[in-house]
Amino acid sequence: MRDSKRLAAQYLTMRRIRAFEDRAETMARDGKVTGAVHASVGQEGIAVGVCANLLPSDKITTTHRGHGHCIAKGTSPRAMMLELFGKAGGTSGGKGGSMHIADFSVGMLGANGVVADGLPIAVGAAQGEKLLGRDTVVCCFFGDGATNRGPFMEALNWAAVYRLPVLFVCENNSYASTTRTETVTAGPGPSARAESLGVPAFSVDGNDVAAVDELAGRLVREIRAGAGPKFIEARTYRLHGHTAADAGAYRDAREVEERWTSDPIARCAAELRRLGVPDSDITAMDEAAEREMADAVAIALAAPWPDPRTAFTDVQDVGAPV
């Protein structure tokens, strides 16, 4: 029998991510958030199911579409929202924005604006941790589009060669920007590529948070025990546009509509109900999530801008700009 408490906690985290991103997108459309915002709406089950199995000392890297991973790993949504607004107190002090959120205090080693660049960084982090004698697991999130870039292959080979403690998580949402990934991807897909590079691959329904949780739990244990890298291909779907500004005209409305029926949050709620969790508990979680993020927005709106002089700080120690 599934653990309803664990699942409820995961439900809450998914709801928090959704509430965060819905607001981030609205604020982007309102011009309050200025940079590109890539929401992971519909993909929250993967972030939450995987991160539920990581220790605070474990590390993650993510992509342009990384809000969910950050929140699931423990980054403060308040600090994230401040970052999206470019305000003082943001995770990067306003220097990074949505695509460069990081929170090293919880092992979140940074989102990345260059597709697939997080993979080599993740394997290196794992190699560093191993060298330092720690039993950290590093988890690396990336999209299906990233599997066509060279560093994807190089990093997988690398992780397998050095038997590094890395969990690769491919969020296969069928799209890379406006392009259906299958039209530019040959062969049987990401899992076959991983296997050919010596990284055992496992496929999972990414919209079933409990299934992700279970698979990731097993793999993280194996990795921590020294089994070397593993690969998860999580099938999912990006329910919103590529960015908040993208209406998604390249997809059939019916396709999207149909995929909404597999929304991981709705599915999790149904599962909770099936497990006997009362509706009121679910509603309470929904409300808590909405409240938290409404607060985050209010705080961000009211927050001061960073000191413009910080545009020149944290560049480098030697030869810093004056």
């Binding site: 220097k95 260059v114 920007s177 392009t179």
Partner: protein, 325 residues
């Protein structure tokens, strides 16, 4: 003449060249949907998916494949989306595209046009904002083009496509929406290597390119009110750059300011300033002066981002200081 945006002008230029020469084709991510800035809209519909090719996210191979395709006689137009991502294909640009003709003793020609949009553009932060023109000017074999106006973005793109050398073609992301008069004639191109005197003046020469042309023109207008006559030279092409135009303008004014958006240190402005100092050192009325952004990555937050921009005020101040010297 038509009123077109900078993006539309490029589209017109590319489609004319594709109609004119069946060997011209374009490749890059999401081109079928019009490209990330709409600058390819409608082209796949007209020319089909073999000539407007949607590619995987494989920058190394987008660039490397273009080199191979150029070597067998086609004329690829490569779209790299952001100059920052173009870094994923630098090896192919520098070690292959730029060197093949020379290394193979003249057997190869690599007529590729490599589009890599540059520049700061509303909160795009450190990985979507760079201007790295100076890098490519440093590389033998490459031509470097940076249009500032819609007319030039048509005429220079056409000239680049017709050029038998690999051309780094840098459009500025903040200019896509800029409108202007653009020649309709498909035979009109803008020659590579010729600067444009964007404004005549007598007291100070401002040498600039890309978006900074417009900022410099605003500064020149402001300075005119203050009694200073500024000549604005839009270089258009950074390699080869129009030394004659620059040297003769400075011969007239005796004062040079080079204005760039890129990081000042080791930017292209250093090349212009150093050249003028070498050639005319003894004849200047004031030392040469460069403006550019500080040596810091570009921030996301608006007030931080604004802090690294070269503004009208900076140019005005620099010109007044020079005029007083």
């Amino acid at each position: 003449m038509s009123q077109l945006t900078y993006a539309q002008a490029a589209m017109a230029g590319l489609s004319e060249e594709m109609r004119r020469d069946p060997r011209v084709w374009a490749l890059g991510e999401d081109l079928g949907r019009g490209g990330v800035f709409g600058q390819y809209r409608g082209l796949q519909q007209e020319f089909g998916p073999q000539r407007v090719v949607d590619t995987p996210i494989s920058e190394s191979t987008i660039m490397g494949a273009a080199v191979g395709a150029a070597m067998v006689g086609t004329r690829p137009v490569v779209e790299l989306r952001f100059a920052d991502f173009a870094l994923c294909a630098v090896d192919e640009m520098v070690n292959q595209a730029a060197k093949a003709r020379f290394m193979f003793g003249g057997q190869a020609r690599v007529p590729v046009t490599i589009r890599q949009p540059v520049g700061m553009w509303r909160s795009s932060a450190a990985q979507h904002s760079q201007s790295l023109e100076a890098w490519y000017v440093h590389i033998p074999g490459l031509v470097v083009v940076m249009p500032a106006t819609p007319a030039d973005n048509k005429g220079l793109l056409k000239a680049s496509i017709r050029c038998d050398d690999p051309v780094i073609y840098m459009e500025h992301k903040d200019l896509w929406g800029l409108t202007g008069e653009v020649p309709d004639d498909a035979d009109v191109t803008v020659p590579l290597g010729q600067a444009r005197i964007a404004r005549d003046g007598a007291d100070v020469t401002v040498v600039t390119w890309s978006k900074m042309v417009h900022v410099s023109l605003s500064a020149a207008a402001e300075l005119a009110k203050r009694g200073l006559s500024v000549e604005v030279v839009d270089l258009r092409t950074l390699w080869p750059w129009d030394r004659t135009a620059v040297l003769s303008s400075v011969a007239k004014t005796g004062r040079l300011i080079v204005v760039q958006e890129a990081v000042l240190t080791c930017g292209f402005g250093a090349e212009v300033a150093a050249t003028v100092a070498e050639e005319m050192g003894g004849q200047l009325k004031a030392p040469v002066k460069r403006l550019g952004s500080p040596r810091a990555p570009i921030s996301y937050s608006r007030p931080l981002e604004d802090r690294v921009r070269v503004t009208v005020d900076h140019i005005v101040d620099a010109a007044l200081t020079l005029a007083r010297a």
